[in-house]
Structures are given as structure tokens and as C-alpha cells.
């Protein structure tokens, strides 16, 4: 269902991905509203990660369109989509393990400032990038580990750095792939607090299995089952929907 | 026209023989690279030592040709187990640079040792009497030894194909090449698998070195000199398979022989250029996995 009330920053129309007879993503229409806090849920194998990979450009669709702020990005490379303002995090930490926390975030602030190609005369811009990175770390309450190597900090902190790097890009749209993955549910409030502090101007799509997190954070939920959108609605409506309960019967 | 056909047949024949030797040596490298993800640039050392030992057994101990080959191959295969367990195992799936450097260091050591024990000159190949001479097939003459070589090589290839495709060991091997973690999860003893496979691969290389001593002369620089060819066979044929390298080796053997015969001024130039573009077109090899 296409919602034209709010401005949609990320839209898919009839997005499909098939491998021969196997259809993994099936005619998905999706809208991410401006400033959204939108969650994508579904049982294992529903095709959530595939959908994310289609959105970010790692996979090419067999059919359908992807639009970002009105621009057609269906054929764009992952790098080009980043230029359009699309950022993502990974379900399994994808960090620079040997580098320090601040160096990790500085990678993306440097990319955001567009100075990644410079060899000469960039020392003041680099200072600026590190300052920017430090500010991001402060937002995440990570500034006390700024100088530590990633491999030497706790997993929970690593997970936060994973998000901090994406934020360093100053994205317009942020896709979070299971940010609470590997975090025990007793600790997930840390992630929740960080998510709540994310700038309201950033439109967020979150893939998650942790239902507590989803229902506390999201204002809109899409349920994906076997590559097909089951429904898209408010958390209350989704929580009451009998079809959704059936799909999750047996699982948490 | 007659002489062109004649030279083509000749080039094909000798090319295939050359390719068979390359295959026997390289198949072990292909499997271990696909299986353990280990860049073993010292693989040629197995072939070299196999050749040296076989020739020494024939020359000094007086073993007959076939026995010398078998004994040297088994010895090399068994000795390689020590190498695998104590030196290589720690580096599996690790930093490629370390693997390259470690194995280059081993090549250096082997080169110097070979020179020390057997001197700097290339060894003369020793052929058994019954395999010398020529046979006449369809009014053409073919060296008996090369016919024997091709026959043996094809037989071994078929045996390998059968083992990999039809036996329990082969199934485990293919599973582990595809996905080591899952293979372990379903109870395959990957360590044992690695060791056994490595030993077989090294033994085959030793056999190839001994059998092919007429084509690839046994000398101290062997492992370095022919390394490029072994790597080409593996890269073009695809890692982790026994069939791909066979095709690649035959192609390489024929192409190299053809180039040396028809355009000797250019030497290996065309081979490398062709191989470069082939790999750019198919980075995983002709029949390789992704």
C-alpha cells in the first residue's frame, strides 16, 4: 500500500528477486517516510537481509524499482547510493579491528567530507574529520574508549561503533541490520537508548528479531514473510493481527 | 599440408603429455588450496624431491623404474604430513602474506638442499628399457614413454574423478571444500581430512615429478622455475576441483608446446597474456567455484 501523506524518502515498487524458479523477494512495495522509525520483521528466511541487500545495491533485482528522494537508484552501485545519503550497518560487525575506535569513525567522516582522495594539503580537514568523529563518539558515550583498538573493547561497545561509523556519513536514510544481534535481551536497552538518540532528521529502517526493541522503538512495522509483505501498520495493529501471530506461532 | 598436419599432431601429442605431467603435479595444489585456503608456493618442492628420489633410487639403489616411482611418491607423501601438521596448519585461512613468505622460505631451503646433495646440474632422466623407443600408430611414430605417460596420467585422473565423485571420502572432501564450518558441524573430522588429502596431493606431485623428469628437468631451481605453470593450472582450472585443472593443464600443455614450436621468438609471452585475459574473464577459473 502506497502512503502518499508523508514524503517518502525510500520507495520500492514491485521489487522482485528470483533465482530461476525460486523467488526470494516477491513484488515488494515499500515506503520509508521522512523521519521514520520503521521496523522490518519476519520469521527466519523471510528475505529481510535479501531486501536490505537489494536496497543497498549489493544485489540487483530481477524486476521493480527503487527510488530515493524521488531519484531512481535501481541501477546505482552501492557507492553511488551512499552518495545519495544511504547508510547501513551490518548484522555481523564489519569494523576495522586493528584500528582504534576513533579511527573507525573517522573513516566515514573523511568519506563524508569527500577528502578521501587527497594526498596533499589535507591536514586541517583531517583534524576536522577527527573532531567530527569525536563528537559522534560523545553522542554514543564512547569517548572514553576512543583510543582503544576495536579488538580490545567489549562486544556491546563494538556494536555501537558499528552504528557510529554509519552515522559518521551523516546519512539521510539509515538501515540498521539487527543492531541488537548477539546482545542478550537484558542488555538491549543500551542499544534502544542509542537508537532513540539518533537525529530525528534521519529516516531509519531497522531489521530486528528482538521484539521488545522493535515495539519500543518503531512507530511503523512491516511484516515480511517468504519475500512477500504481509502487512504494514502501527505496532498496536501488528501486535493484534491474527495472521502475524500465526506466522510467529512457536517462535518467541 | 601433410607436414602441417604432421606438426599439429605432434604438437598435440607432446602438448598432452606435458599437460598430463603438469596436471599430476598441480592437482594436489588445487585441492589443498580449495580445501584449506592455503597458498602453498612450495608445492613444486614435492615434485622436485619426488624426481630426485626416484632417480636416486634407480641409479644408486638399483630399484626398478616403477618401484622407484612408487616408493619415492609414498615417502614424499608421508613426509609431507609433518610439514602440514607442524608448519602449515597454524596458517590456514590466515594472512595470505604469511603463507606466501613461509612457503617461499621453504622453497629457498629446498633449493639449497637439493644443490648441496645433488649438485647444480640438471639430472638426466632414466627410462626403463621397455619404455624406450617408438611405436608406430597409424603410420606415425610416437615415443613409447610418452604414450605410457599419457596412459598413466589419464588413468590416475579417472581414478581421482571416481574417488571424488563416488566415494565417501570424496563426498566429505567436496563438503569441506564448499563450506568447512558446516562440514565440521556435521561431524566430518576436517583435520584428518586435511592431512590425508595433503599427503595424497604431495604424493601425486612427487609421482608427477618423477614421471615427468624427461619433460621438466629435475634441477635445484625446479620449484621456482616451474611454479608459474603450476599456479596457472590451478588458477585457470579453478581451486578445489580435480576436473578443472585437468582441462587447464592439457590446454596449457598444448598451448605452450605450440608456442615453442611455431613462434619460439615469443617464448612464454603469449601464454602469460592469454592466461591474464582468461583469468580476467573468469576469475574463478574455467570450471571453478566462485
Amino acid at each position: 500500500m502506497v502512503n502518499l501523506d508523508e514524503e517518502s524518502v525510500l520507495t520500492t515498487r514491485g521489487l522482485t528477486l528470483s533465482f530461476g524458479a525460486l523467488t526470494v523477494t516477491n513484488e515488494v512495495d515499500f515506503d520509508l517516510a521522512s523521519g521514520a522509525r520503521h521496523a522490518l520483521i519476519g520469521p527466519n528466511g523471510a528475505g529481510k537481509t535479501t531486501f536490505v541487500n537489494l536496497l543497498t545495491g549489493i544485489l540487483r533485482p530481477s524486476a521493480g524499482q527503487i527510488l530515493m528522494n524521488g531519484a531512481d537508484i535501481t541501477g546505482a552501485t552501492p557507492e553511488q547510493r551512499v552518495q545519495h545519503g544511504l547508510g547501513r550497518t551490518f548484522q555481523i560487525n564489519s569494523l576495522f579491528r586493528e584500528l582504534t575506535v576513533i579511527e573507525n569513525v573517522a573513516m566515514s567522516t573523511m568519506a563524508q567530507q569527500g577528502i578521501g582522495h587527497q594526498v596533499f594539503g589535507a591536514s586541517s580537514s583531517m583534524k576536522g574529520c577527527f573532531e567530527q568523529a569525536y563528537e559522534v563518539l560523545c553522542d554514543f558515550d564512547l569517548q572514553h574508549v576512543a583510543d582503544k583498538q576495536i579488538k580490545n573493547i567489549a562486544y556491546g561497545e563494538q556494536r555501537l561503533v558499528e552504528i557510529a561509523i554509519a552515522l559518521g556519513l551523516r546519512p539521510k536514510v539509515l538501515i540498521l541490520d539487527e543492531p541488537a544481534a548477539g546482545i542478550p535481551s537484558s542488555e538491549s536497552h543500551v542499544i534502544l537508548e542509542v537508537l532513540r538518540k539518533l537525529p530525528s532528521a534521519v529516516s531509519i529502517l531497522i531489521i530486528e528479531h528482538d521484539m521488545n526493541l522493535v515495539f519500543q522503538f518503531a512507530s511503523r512495522i512491516t511484516v515480511l514473510v517468504q519475500g512477500v509483505v504481509l502487512l504494514t501498520d502501527t505496532p498496536e495493529a501488528v501486535g493484534k493481527d491474527t495472521r502475524v501471530k500465526e506466522v510467529y506461532l512457536g517462535s518467541r | 599440408m601433410g607436414t602441417l598436419l604432421s606438426s599439429v599432431v605432434s604438437v598435440m601429442f607432446h602438448g598432452v603429455a606435458y599437460g598430463i605431467v603438469l596436471y599430476l603435479i598441480s592437482v594436489g595444489l588445487s585441492i589443498t588450496m580449495g580445501l584449506m585456503g592455503f597458498v602453498n608456493l612450495a608445492h613444486g618442492v614435492f615434485a622436485m624431491i619426488g624426481g630426485y628420489l626416484a632417480l636416486s633410487f634407480m641409479d644408486q639403489v638399483g630399484l626398478n623404474f616403477y618401484l622407484a616411482l612408487v616408493v619415492s611418491s609414498v615417502l614424499v607423501g608421508v613426509a609431507s604430513i609433518l610439514l602440514e601438521r607442524f608448519l602449515y596448519r597454524d596458517l590456514y585461512g590466515g594472512d595470505e602474506l604469511e603463507q606466501v613468505l613461509l612457503t617461499i622460505g621453504l622453497v629457498f631451503m629446498a633449493m639449497a638442499a637439493a644443490r648441496y646433495f645433488w649438485g647444480p646440474l640438471p639430472q638426466r632422466a632414466i627410462l626403463p628399457i621397455e619404455l624406450m623407443g617408438q611405436w608406430s600408430i597409424l603410420s606415425r611414430n610416437f615415443p613409447v614413454y610418452r604414450l605410457f605417460l599419457i596412459g598413466t596420467g589419464i588413468t590416475l585422473f579417472l581414478i581421482l574423478w571416481f574417488v571424488v565423485d563416488r566415494t565417501g571420502y570424496g563426498a566429505k572432501l567436496r563438503a569441506a571444500v564448499d563450506n568447512q564450518k558446516i562440514a565440521q558441524a556435521i561431524g566430518i573430522n576436517t583435520n584428518l581430512l586435511f592431512t590425508v588429502t595433503f599427503a595424497i596431493g604431495s604424493g601425486m606431485a612427487a609421482l608427477g615429478g618423477g614421471l615427468g623428469s624427461e619433460l621438466l628437468a629435475i634441477n635445484p631451481a625446479y620449484a621456482m622455475e616451474y611454479l608459474v605453470y603450476f599456479l596457472i593450472v590451478v588458477a585457470v582450472g579453478g581451486m578445489g576441483s580435480v576436473k578443472g585443472p585437468f582441462l587447464a593443464a592439457i590446454l596449457l600443455g598444448i598451448a605452450d608446446t605450440a608456442c615453442k614450436y611455431y613462434i619460439p621468438e615469443f617464448g612464454a609471452f603469449f601464454i602469460f597474456v592469454a592466461m591474464t585475459f582468461l583469468l580476467l574473464w573468469r576469475p574463478a577459473g574455467l570450471l571453478g567455484r566462485g
Binding site: E79, S94, L95, L99, H117 | I104, A112, E265, T276
Partner: protein, 344 residues
Amino acid sequence: MEAGRFAGTRMMEKHNAETRDTVLVRLLRDRYLRWVEGAILLLILITYITFPTYHTLLSQIFIFTLFVLSLDLLVGYAGLVTLGHAAFFGVGAYSAGLYAIHISPEPLSGLVVATSSAAVVGLVSGALILRTTGLTFLMLTLAVASVVHEILNQAGELTGGADGLRGIEMSPLLGIAEFDFMGNTAFIYSAVVLVVGYLFFRQVIRSPFGRQIVGIRENAIRMRAIGSPVYLRLLAAYTISAGMAGTAGALLAQTNQFVSLSVVTMERSGEALIMLIFGGAGKLFGAFVGVPLYMLLQDLLSRYTPIFWVFWIGLMLVLIVKFAKNGVLGVGTRLLNKYRSRHG
């Protein structure tokens, strides 16, 4: 957020020398860096005075240090394992030699020509092969080097083939310093070029570009996910590295006034890799430690065991990979770490 500004700047100054080992980074804060660099410069000056008969040998050391420095950019910083780097060294050497014979014996312009030729070869071959990774990439570096070797070998009329390129006569450097038999000019020439090359290398490493290269080495997938054009960055690094190697090759041709095919063999590529590892890859000064160390070892060993010395080099390489994979500088760092942790 004011605290953030200053803290960030302090952080950056701490992180300005990018290496594999972050503790070394802290140790190599700017002022320490200056000390080490000053020490190297001093060492160069001292050896000029105290070893008057060894100037030719020393200039060889400088030349190979520059060569290995260029390799460090690829192997140590970009994480690209190559066995074909001698190709660029050779292209530089032959370009400089041919330029001197056929166009002009002026050394500096020859240096520029050689660097550019090597860079072009690097750009073209890199553009082709940088789309691949792992063993395929390694193979292709070997292939490119073999092709270059073959071309130089076969173009006998131009290059002298297996006999080598002779008859290179250089005109005086800057019009004043003649290339003398004592090697004085060669020493100063190669030392200066090495210093300039090092300064350029350091600039590249510490720049945003250099950091991106390290980022690509550590996690290419994440770099793509933050919009970094990985292929283009690597291509740029490859081209720069090739150019630097070409500069070193040109120096060799100009100071020896002779070039042989040995400059473009796999042995040469392998040797450079070994020298780099001995010193430690990705540690800024690895080349400065590894090259003299290797050449000293080679000299010593080959005097005691003329045939067998290769064995000892191989053994050392195996031991280094097993126990000291970050080379001498890595061992030094570990010792410094221990010292610091014991003394606070």
C-alpha cells in the same frame, strides 16, 4: 561540544603515523618521528664520511631501500601481496638507460621519464588486474612481471637482451657533479632521491588517501559500504608504488651505467619482499631496517657458505613468519610494550 573540538585534535595528532600496530602509533607521535628521521639522516651523513670506499655499495642500499619502500605501500599498507613488483623496477631501469643512450644523458630528466614510464605500466596493469583478489591477483602480478621480462628479453636490439644494456653514460648531475668511480656523486644522488621519496611516502601514508588505503586493507567491504571507491583508490596506490619503484630502477641504471635482465626477475621481487618482512611491513621504517639487514646478512652468509647461504635465508624467513611476523620493528614494538607496561 568545545571539549570535543580540542580532544579531537589531540586524538588526530596521536594517530598521524598510521601503522599496523597502534601502540607504535602512540610511540611515533610527531616528535618521536622526527627523532627517528633525524637519526636516519645523521646515519647517512656519517656513513658518507666514515666509509669513503663503500660509497657505491651504500648507494645500492639506498636504491633498494627506495624500491622496498614502494613495495611497502602495496604490501604493508594496501595489503596487496605481489610477486611481480620487479617489473616496475625493471621498466624504470631500462627506460632511464635507453633515455640516456638515445635521447639525453641528463640524469634528472631521465629520472622523470623513468618514473612516468613505470607509473604508466603500473596504471595499465593495475587497471586490468586489481579487479581480482587473492591467489588470482598474485598469479596475475607474476604474469605481468613475466610478460615485462619477456618483452625486455626479446627486444634484444633495443635492450641488449640477455647481455644487458650497456653504454649508458651520464652527464654531470645538475651540470656540476660528475659520476665518478668513487661513487661519491652516486651516493649523494641516491641518498637525496631516497630522502625525497621517503618524504613523499610519509605524506601519502598520513594523508586521508593513505588512511583510506589502510581502511581498504582492513575491511574493503565496509569501505564500499561507506561509499569509498575501493578499486580507484587501489589503482592510485598501485600506480604511485609502480612509479616509485621505477625511480629506484632509474637510479640503479644511472649509477651503475649498466642494466641487466636480473632487475626484472622473480628473484628480485621475492628478495624485495623478504627485505620488507625482515624490517617489518606497514611500519613506515621497515625498508630502512630490512634492506641493510638483508644485504649485510647476504654478504656475511655467502662468505661463509657460498652455495648454502640461500638455505639460511629461507630458514630465517620461515622462522620470522612463525615467530616474528612483523619483522624487526615488530619485535622492537613488543619489547617496548613490555617495557612500558612494566614501567607505567
